[in-house]
Amino acid sequence: MRSDTKKEGLWKFGAYIFLLTITVLVMIPLYWMIVAATIPQSEFFTWPPRLIPGTQWLANFEALQENVNFLRSMGNSVIIAVSYTALSLVLCSMAGFAFAKYEFRFKEPLFYFILATLVLPIQLLIIPLFLLMVQIGWTNSYLAVILPWAANPLGIFLMRQNMKAIPDSLLESARMDGATEFQLYYKIALPTMLPSLAALAIILFLNQWQAFLYPLVILQDPQMYTIPLALADLVGQQRVYFDQIMVATSLAVTPIFIVFLTMQQYFIKGILSGSVKQ
């Protein structure tokens, strides 16, 4: 028995060490980002490098703004990601509601058809989308980035799955209480679905916030750059300003970190429902 307890203790100790190691390794790059964003460029080349955050963040940020209009990129990102998320939520929840709660012809084939497109990778669409946007003159426009994935197969799938859980009697009860057909959707179905909507909203927002390849193709005017494009542009400049890059990076990730930390349960629900394992 005693050797068992000892073995058990060793096991627990090892487990903690492993967990701590992983945590530290994961945190290092993020910590380094903070350090790098708050020290002047000159101190990058000191030996040994700085390991403690400095106070230069604002100065670095001003330099960044002067170099590229990063705030403008943030604004672009916010406009695109927010409108995309809102539009996609409306489209997916409305269609998901119909698929979950109504009977209509071709319902099953249509739904499975959408499901089949879940596996289509983005690079299969980019070239025609580019040609299309060029032809209708939408390059360098918000709409060109917002519209294409707003009809999101994953979104409609999640909405349908979750809305199926709404009891029919709830909708019938509302009908008897005098609700119109449209009120069934927005007064009953939508409000009962808020957690799922939040989870889906987070997935959609995050996908659009960090989208790179497609915006890179469509948005070529620096005035229209989203955050990832502005960051990549900074990296690709003739002379590379690490301090500015890190300031920009910290600006790019902080809002999402705040969302992540405050709405972690929806975040995780989103990730899990995205993995379709329920």
């Binding site: 009891p167 019938e172 009860s173 509302a174 008897m176 209480d177 009962t192």
Partner: protein, 375 residues
């Protein structure tokens, strides 16, 4: 308040070649202010009928009239009907106050204050005034039930529809709510159609009971009518707990012979005239231990209820249930003999299952003598 007339109702589900008939040949009038209970086994069409009355299902054929006005093609929301669902169907995102007030907010032009006053009046009537600002998931089953009732009552509808509203409650609460519902219905006087699969509940609650099977209405009547004078074998078998003992007997003049040595000499042979075979029914409480009776049965189990004993036995390949005095404890494996009075005997046609003879002799007692004169 309304009288509901249902004429020749037929409801089919599905399309193309796979049509399923849920309800057919259904004629019924629910009287103004009546508490009518639909009862039957699951799948008998009782809920479908209720949903047709509600306007939640289109009817395939037939008409539904409220006070002589044809509402067959009217939408649920325009029928002035309130419904309590089995799972209560409370809106999870609304507080109790909002839930109860929801129908008024949708269908009237009353101000928020007026609605609030009405909600509070109803909540206090139902004893849930302290729960008004809670969400449904914070409430117990019984409390949710009351909220659902409140939401139905507040509209002051012509008709209440209730679909197994008590089946999600535990046994004790169910009997409390049963009484409460009846009192409430009497007080409000609103015509009510109530669906249950539980015949005890049906007997206890309904002014009249509509027994359904396989999509067809079998019989409508008061509790004692369907119990004493079932129109067919199905009603006899469905109503009453424990259920009636049934067996098939060969008719030989005045003598009935059945499985396991069953033999009975009819006092009135004219009843079985013209039948070669007949279905015989005796209710468990009408069986008595009688050494001269015609039902030799082997005892399998005796359940003691305290006030009486349930005796389970087999006669040939037939299971027999009898309710006997609590002081009699036959041993399992012993053979006993049951007898019964002919006036308690039920007979059904072996082919059509229609009743040939039902209970006779029992009549209602004049109870005026027991009533205290009121001042």
């Amino acid at each position: 308040m309304a009288t509901i007339d249902i004429t020749n109702l037929r409801k089919e589900f599905g399309d193309g070649n796979e049509r399923i008939v849920a309800v057919e040949d259904f004629d019924l009038t629910i009287q103004d202010g009546e508490f009518l209970v639909f009862v039957g086994p699951s799948g008998c069409g009782k809920t479908t009928t209720l949903r047709c009355i509600a306007g939640l299902e289109d009817v395939t054929e037939g008409t539904i009239e409220f006070d002589g006005e044809d509402v067959t093609d009217r939408r649920a929301r325009d029928r002035d009907v309130a419904m309590v669902f089995q799972n209560y169907a409370l809106y999870p995102h609304m507080t109790v106050r909002k839930n109860i007030g929801f129908p008024l907010r949708l269908s009237t032009k009353k101000s928020t204050d007026e609605i609030d006053d009405e909600v509070e009046a109803i909540a206090s009537m139902l004893g849930i005034e302290t729960l008004l600002d809670q969400k449904p998931r914070e409430l117990s089953g019984g409390q949710q039930q009351r909220v659902a009732l409140g939401r139905a009552i507040i509209r002051d509808p012509q008709l209440f529809l209730m679909d197994e509203p008590l089946s999600n409650l535990d046994a004790k609460l169910r009997s409390t709510m049963r009484t409460e519902l009846q009192e409430l219905q009497t007080e409000l006087g609103v015509t009510t159609a109530y669906v249950t699969h539980d015949q005890t509940e049906a007997m206890a609650m309904g002014d009249r009971i509509a027994v359904m099977n396989d999509g067809e209405l079998q019989q409508v009547g008061t509790a004692s009518e369907v119990y004493r004078a079932p129109e067919n074998e199905f009603v006899a078998g469905f109503i009453g707990s424990p259920s009636i003992n049934l067996l098939t007997a060969d008719v030989d003049g005045a003598t009935l012979r059945g499985p396991g040595g069953f033999a009975y000499e009819m006092e009135d042979p004219s009843l079985v005239e013209g039948h070669d075979r007949i279905r015989v029914g005796v209710r468990p409480e009408d069986l008595e231990l009688d050494p001269d009776g015609g039902m030799p049965s082997e005892v399998t189990v005796v359940e003691e209820m305290g006030n009486e004993n349930f005796l389970y036995a087999v006669m040939g390949d037939i299971d027999i249930t009898a309710r006997i005095e609590s002081v009699i404890h036959p041993e399992a494996g012993k053979t006993v003999t049951f007898g019964f009075d002919e006036e308690d005997l039920y007979l059904f046609d072996a082919e059509t299952t229609e009743a040939v003879k039902t209970k006779t002799g029992e009549t209602d007692v004049d109870y005026d003598q027991y009533v205290q004169p009121s001042h």
